[in-house]
Amino acid sequence: MRSKKLKNNLITYGIVVVAFIIMQSLSSAGMLSSLMKGLLVPICVYIVLAVSLNLVVGISGELSLGHAGFMCVGAFGGAFFSKCVQETITVPALRLFLAMLVGAALAALFGFLIGIPVLRLKGDYLAIVTLAFGEIIKNVINVIYIGVDGAGLHFSMRDQFSLGMAPDGKILINGAQGITGTPKDSTFFAGFVLIMVTLFIIMNLIDSRDGRAVMAIRDSRIAAESIGINVTGYKLMCFTVSAALAGAAGTLYAHNLATLTASKFNFNTSILVLVFVVLGGMGSIRGSVIAATALTLLPELLRGLNNYRMLIYSIILIAMMLYNWAPKVLEWRERHFGRLLHRNGKEVE
């Protein structure tokens, strides 16, 4: 059983490595359009977001709709850090790495603090409150002004003039206009490394004592408590780890943009990531990777159909849910593909 899990994980790593090598060599051979090149980093960002959200939604079984909020914290935290040390640290890779650590730590802190009240709730209530917290984070960051001059840092939540800076001062975060001029440190390789680290953390976490405890809580909270598992502690751990990785993804995202604004991290982004998770299969890490890639690429490749994107999304979602859950469809699948699957040694549940 152990070797089966290991093989499964290795396949997931393998898919990511192969995809990276192919895209990288196409890119350096000049065979990628600029559109595709521009998509490489966002795809990495979305993969990390989807995989980290899967830890909360698929593995611990709590529907969180505030993932974009943690991404937002990481994006602004990381970008702010990079702006501050732009002159002192000149190696882009090192700067990005440190920024990611800052972004992840900040997002983890937010995840922890928000998790304490939120994880007392269940089901729909939890979903609604995470959604609200996601929006709160976005709206608070939307009105933050931070500037720096000879006297040090200035902070305000009103407007840029109330910062009271000296004329030589520089505005770092400019409210709704966000952060401009973040060094463009993000590379496809950095994204690839972040994906690998995320996969490593999440897949190893799932296949360990902690992962078992989390899944036990998902399957039966009461029984998990009865065998001595600390329910609140494990839920909080999941939520925090997931938030930290979303924060790192946010930092990567921020270092790929000239202008970073908080309005990007809205409810739609949270839902988008949730769609990746649901489409890829709850609890299936490889599914999240594939779904995030496919659903980021498709709309760009089918730009002509842009108007119908949300329509197509919802239809695909409904179709997938029926395909995976509806008893009649399961019966139909078993009847038509059952033999095929069994021959491959897979079991149909």
Partner: protein, 253 residues
């Protein structure tokens, strides 16, 4: 013989309903004790009070000399009480082996960091857990199903798996909530043998709730009869079962 469980004047109300009142019980080490009573008498509520699912309004619970009144469920599990549920509560989407390994959660520990970075502690403890879990599965004749998904097991095996998981926590006291519910006479017979075997093999103290009188009179040494949340009778099995009051309230003329 020393006391394993000492319950004194336990009581809880839900709104205006006094679900359990002045409930006292003492179970000796190694004893097989039965808790019976009509539907709605408060038997499962007593289990929930003992395991910390509900906090008692009054009274105290002493386990092996240690006061565990008002502790949280997870703490009580660590203190040494394990239980099964009337309506089976397995970790349905997890493999059978992982269900038992989850039960070993507090017996074999390593840090989260060791788990994520795959440090030597991870491999060492996981190996011990695998071995211990397989041993337990063998005892309950489930070793052939180790890799199956728990919810896919037939009913009788699910009941056994639940007991195996409870035993994995290495408890001092095992609470069984209607273990024979939904079983046919043959399965009940096998269950009785298994309970007796577990008791001998692990030197276990067992408190069980049961409706099946054959099982109760077959294996329980002492009984407490609960009616409307209060103790109706208490004592050696045969004495209690021939008590006219018990017959009137529960068994029927």
């Amino acid at each position: 013989m020393a006391q394993m469980l000492e319950v004194r004047n336990l009581g809880i109300s839900f709104g205006g309903l006094r679900a359990v009142n002045e409930f006292s019980l003492s179970v000796k080490k190694g004893q097989l004790y039965g808790l019976i009573g009509p539907n709605g008498a408060g038997k499962t509520t007593v289990f929930n009070l003992l395991t910390g699912v509900y906090k008692p309004d009054t009274g105290s619970v002493i386990l092996d000399g240690k006061d565990i009144t008002g502790m949280k469920t997870a703490q009580i599990s660590r203190a040494g009480i394990a239980r099964t549920f009337q309506n089976i509560r397995l970790f349905g989407k997890m493999p059978v082996l992982d269900n038992v390994k989850a039960g070993l959660h507090n017996r074999h520990r390593y840090s989260s960091v060791a788990g994520i970075l795959r440090l030597p502690a991870y491999f060492k403890e996981e190996k011990l857990m695998d071995e211990r879990a397989m041993e337990l599965l063998k005892v309950f004749d489930l070793d052939g199903d180790a890799e199956k998904i728990a919810s896919g097991l037939p009913y009788g095996k699910q009941r056994r798996l639940e007991i195996a998981r409870a035993m994995a926590t290495d408890p001092k006291l095992l609470l069984l909530d209607e273990p024979a519910a939904g079983m046919n006479p043959k399965e009940t017979q096998e269950l009785m043998e298994m309970i007796s075997f577990v008791r001998k093999e692990f030197d276990m103290t067992i408190l069980l709730i049961e409706h099946d009188m054959r099982l109760v009179s077959g294996i329980c040494e002492e009984l407490t009869v609960l009616n409307f949340g209060e103790v109706l009778a208490q004592g050696a099995t045969q004495t209690v079962l021939s008590d006219p009051e018990v017959i009137a309230a529960y068994l029927g003329e």
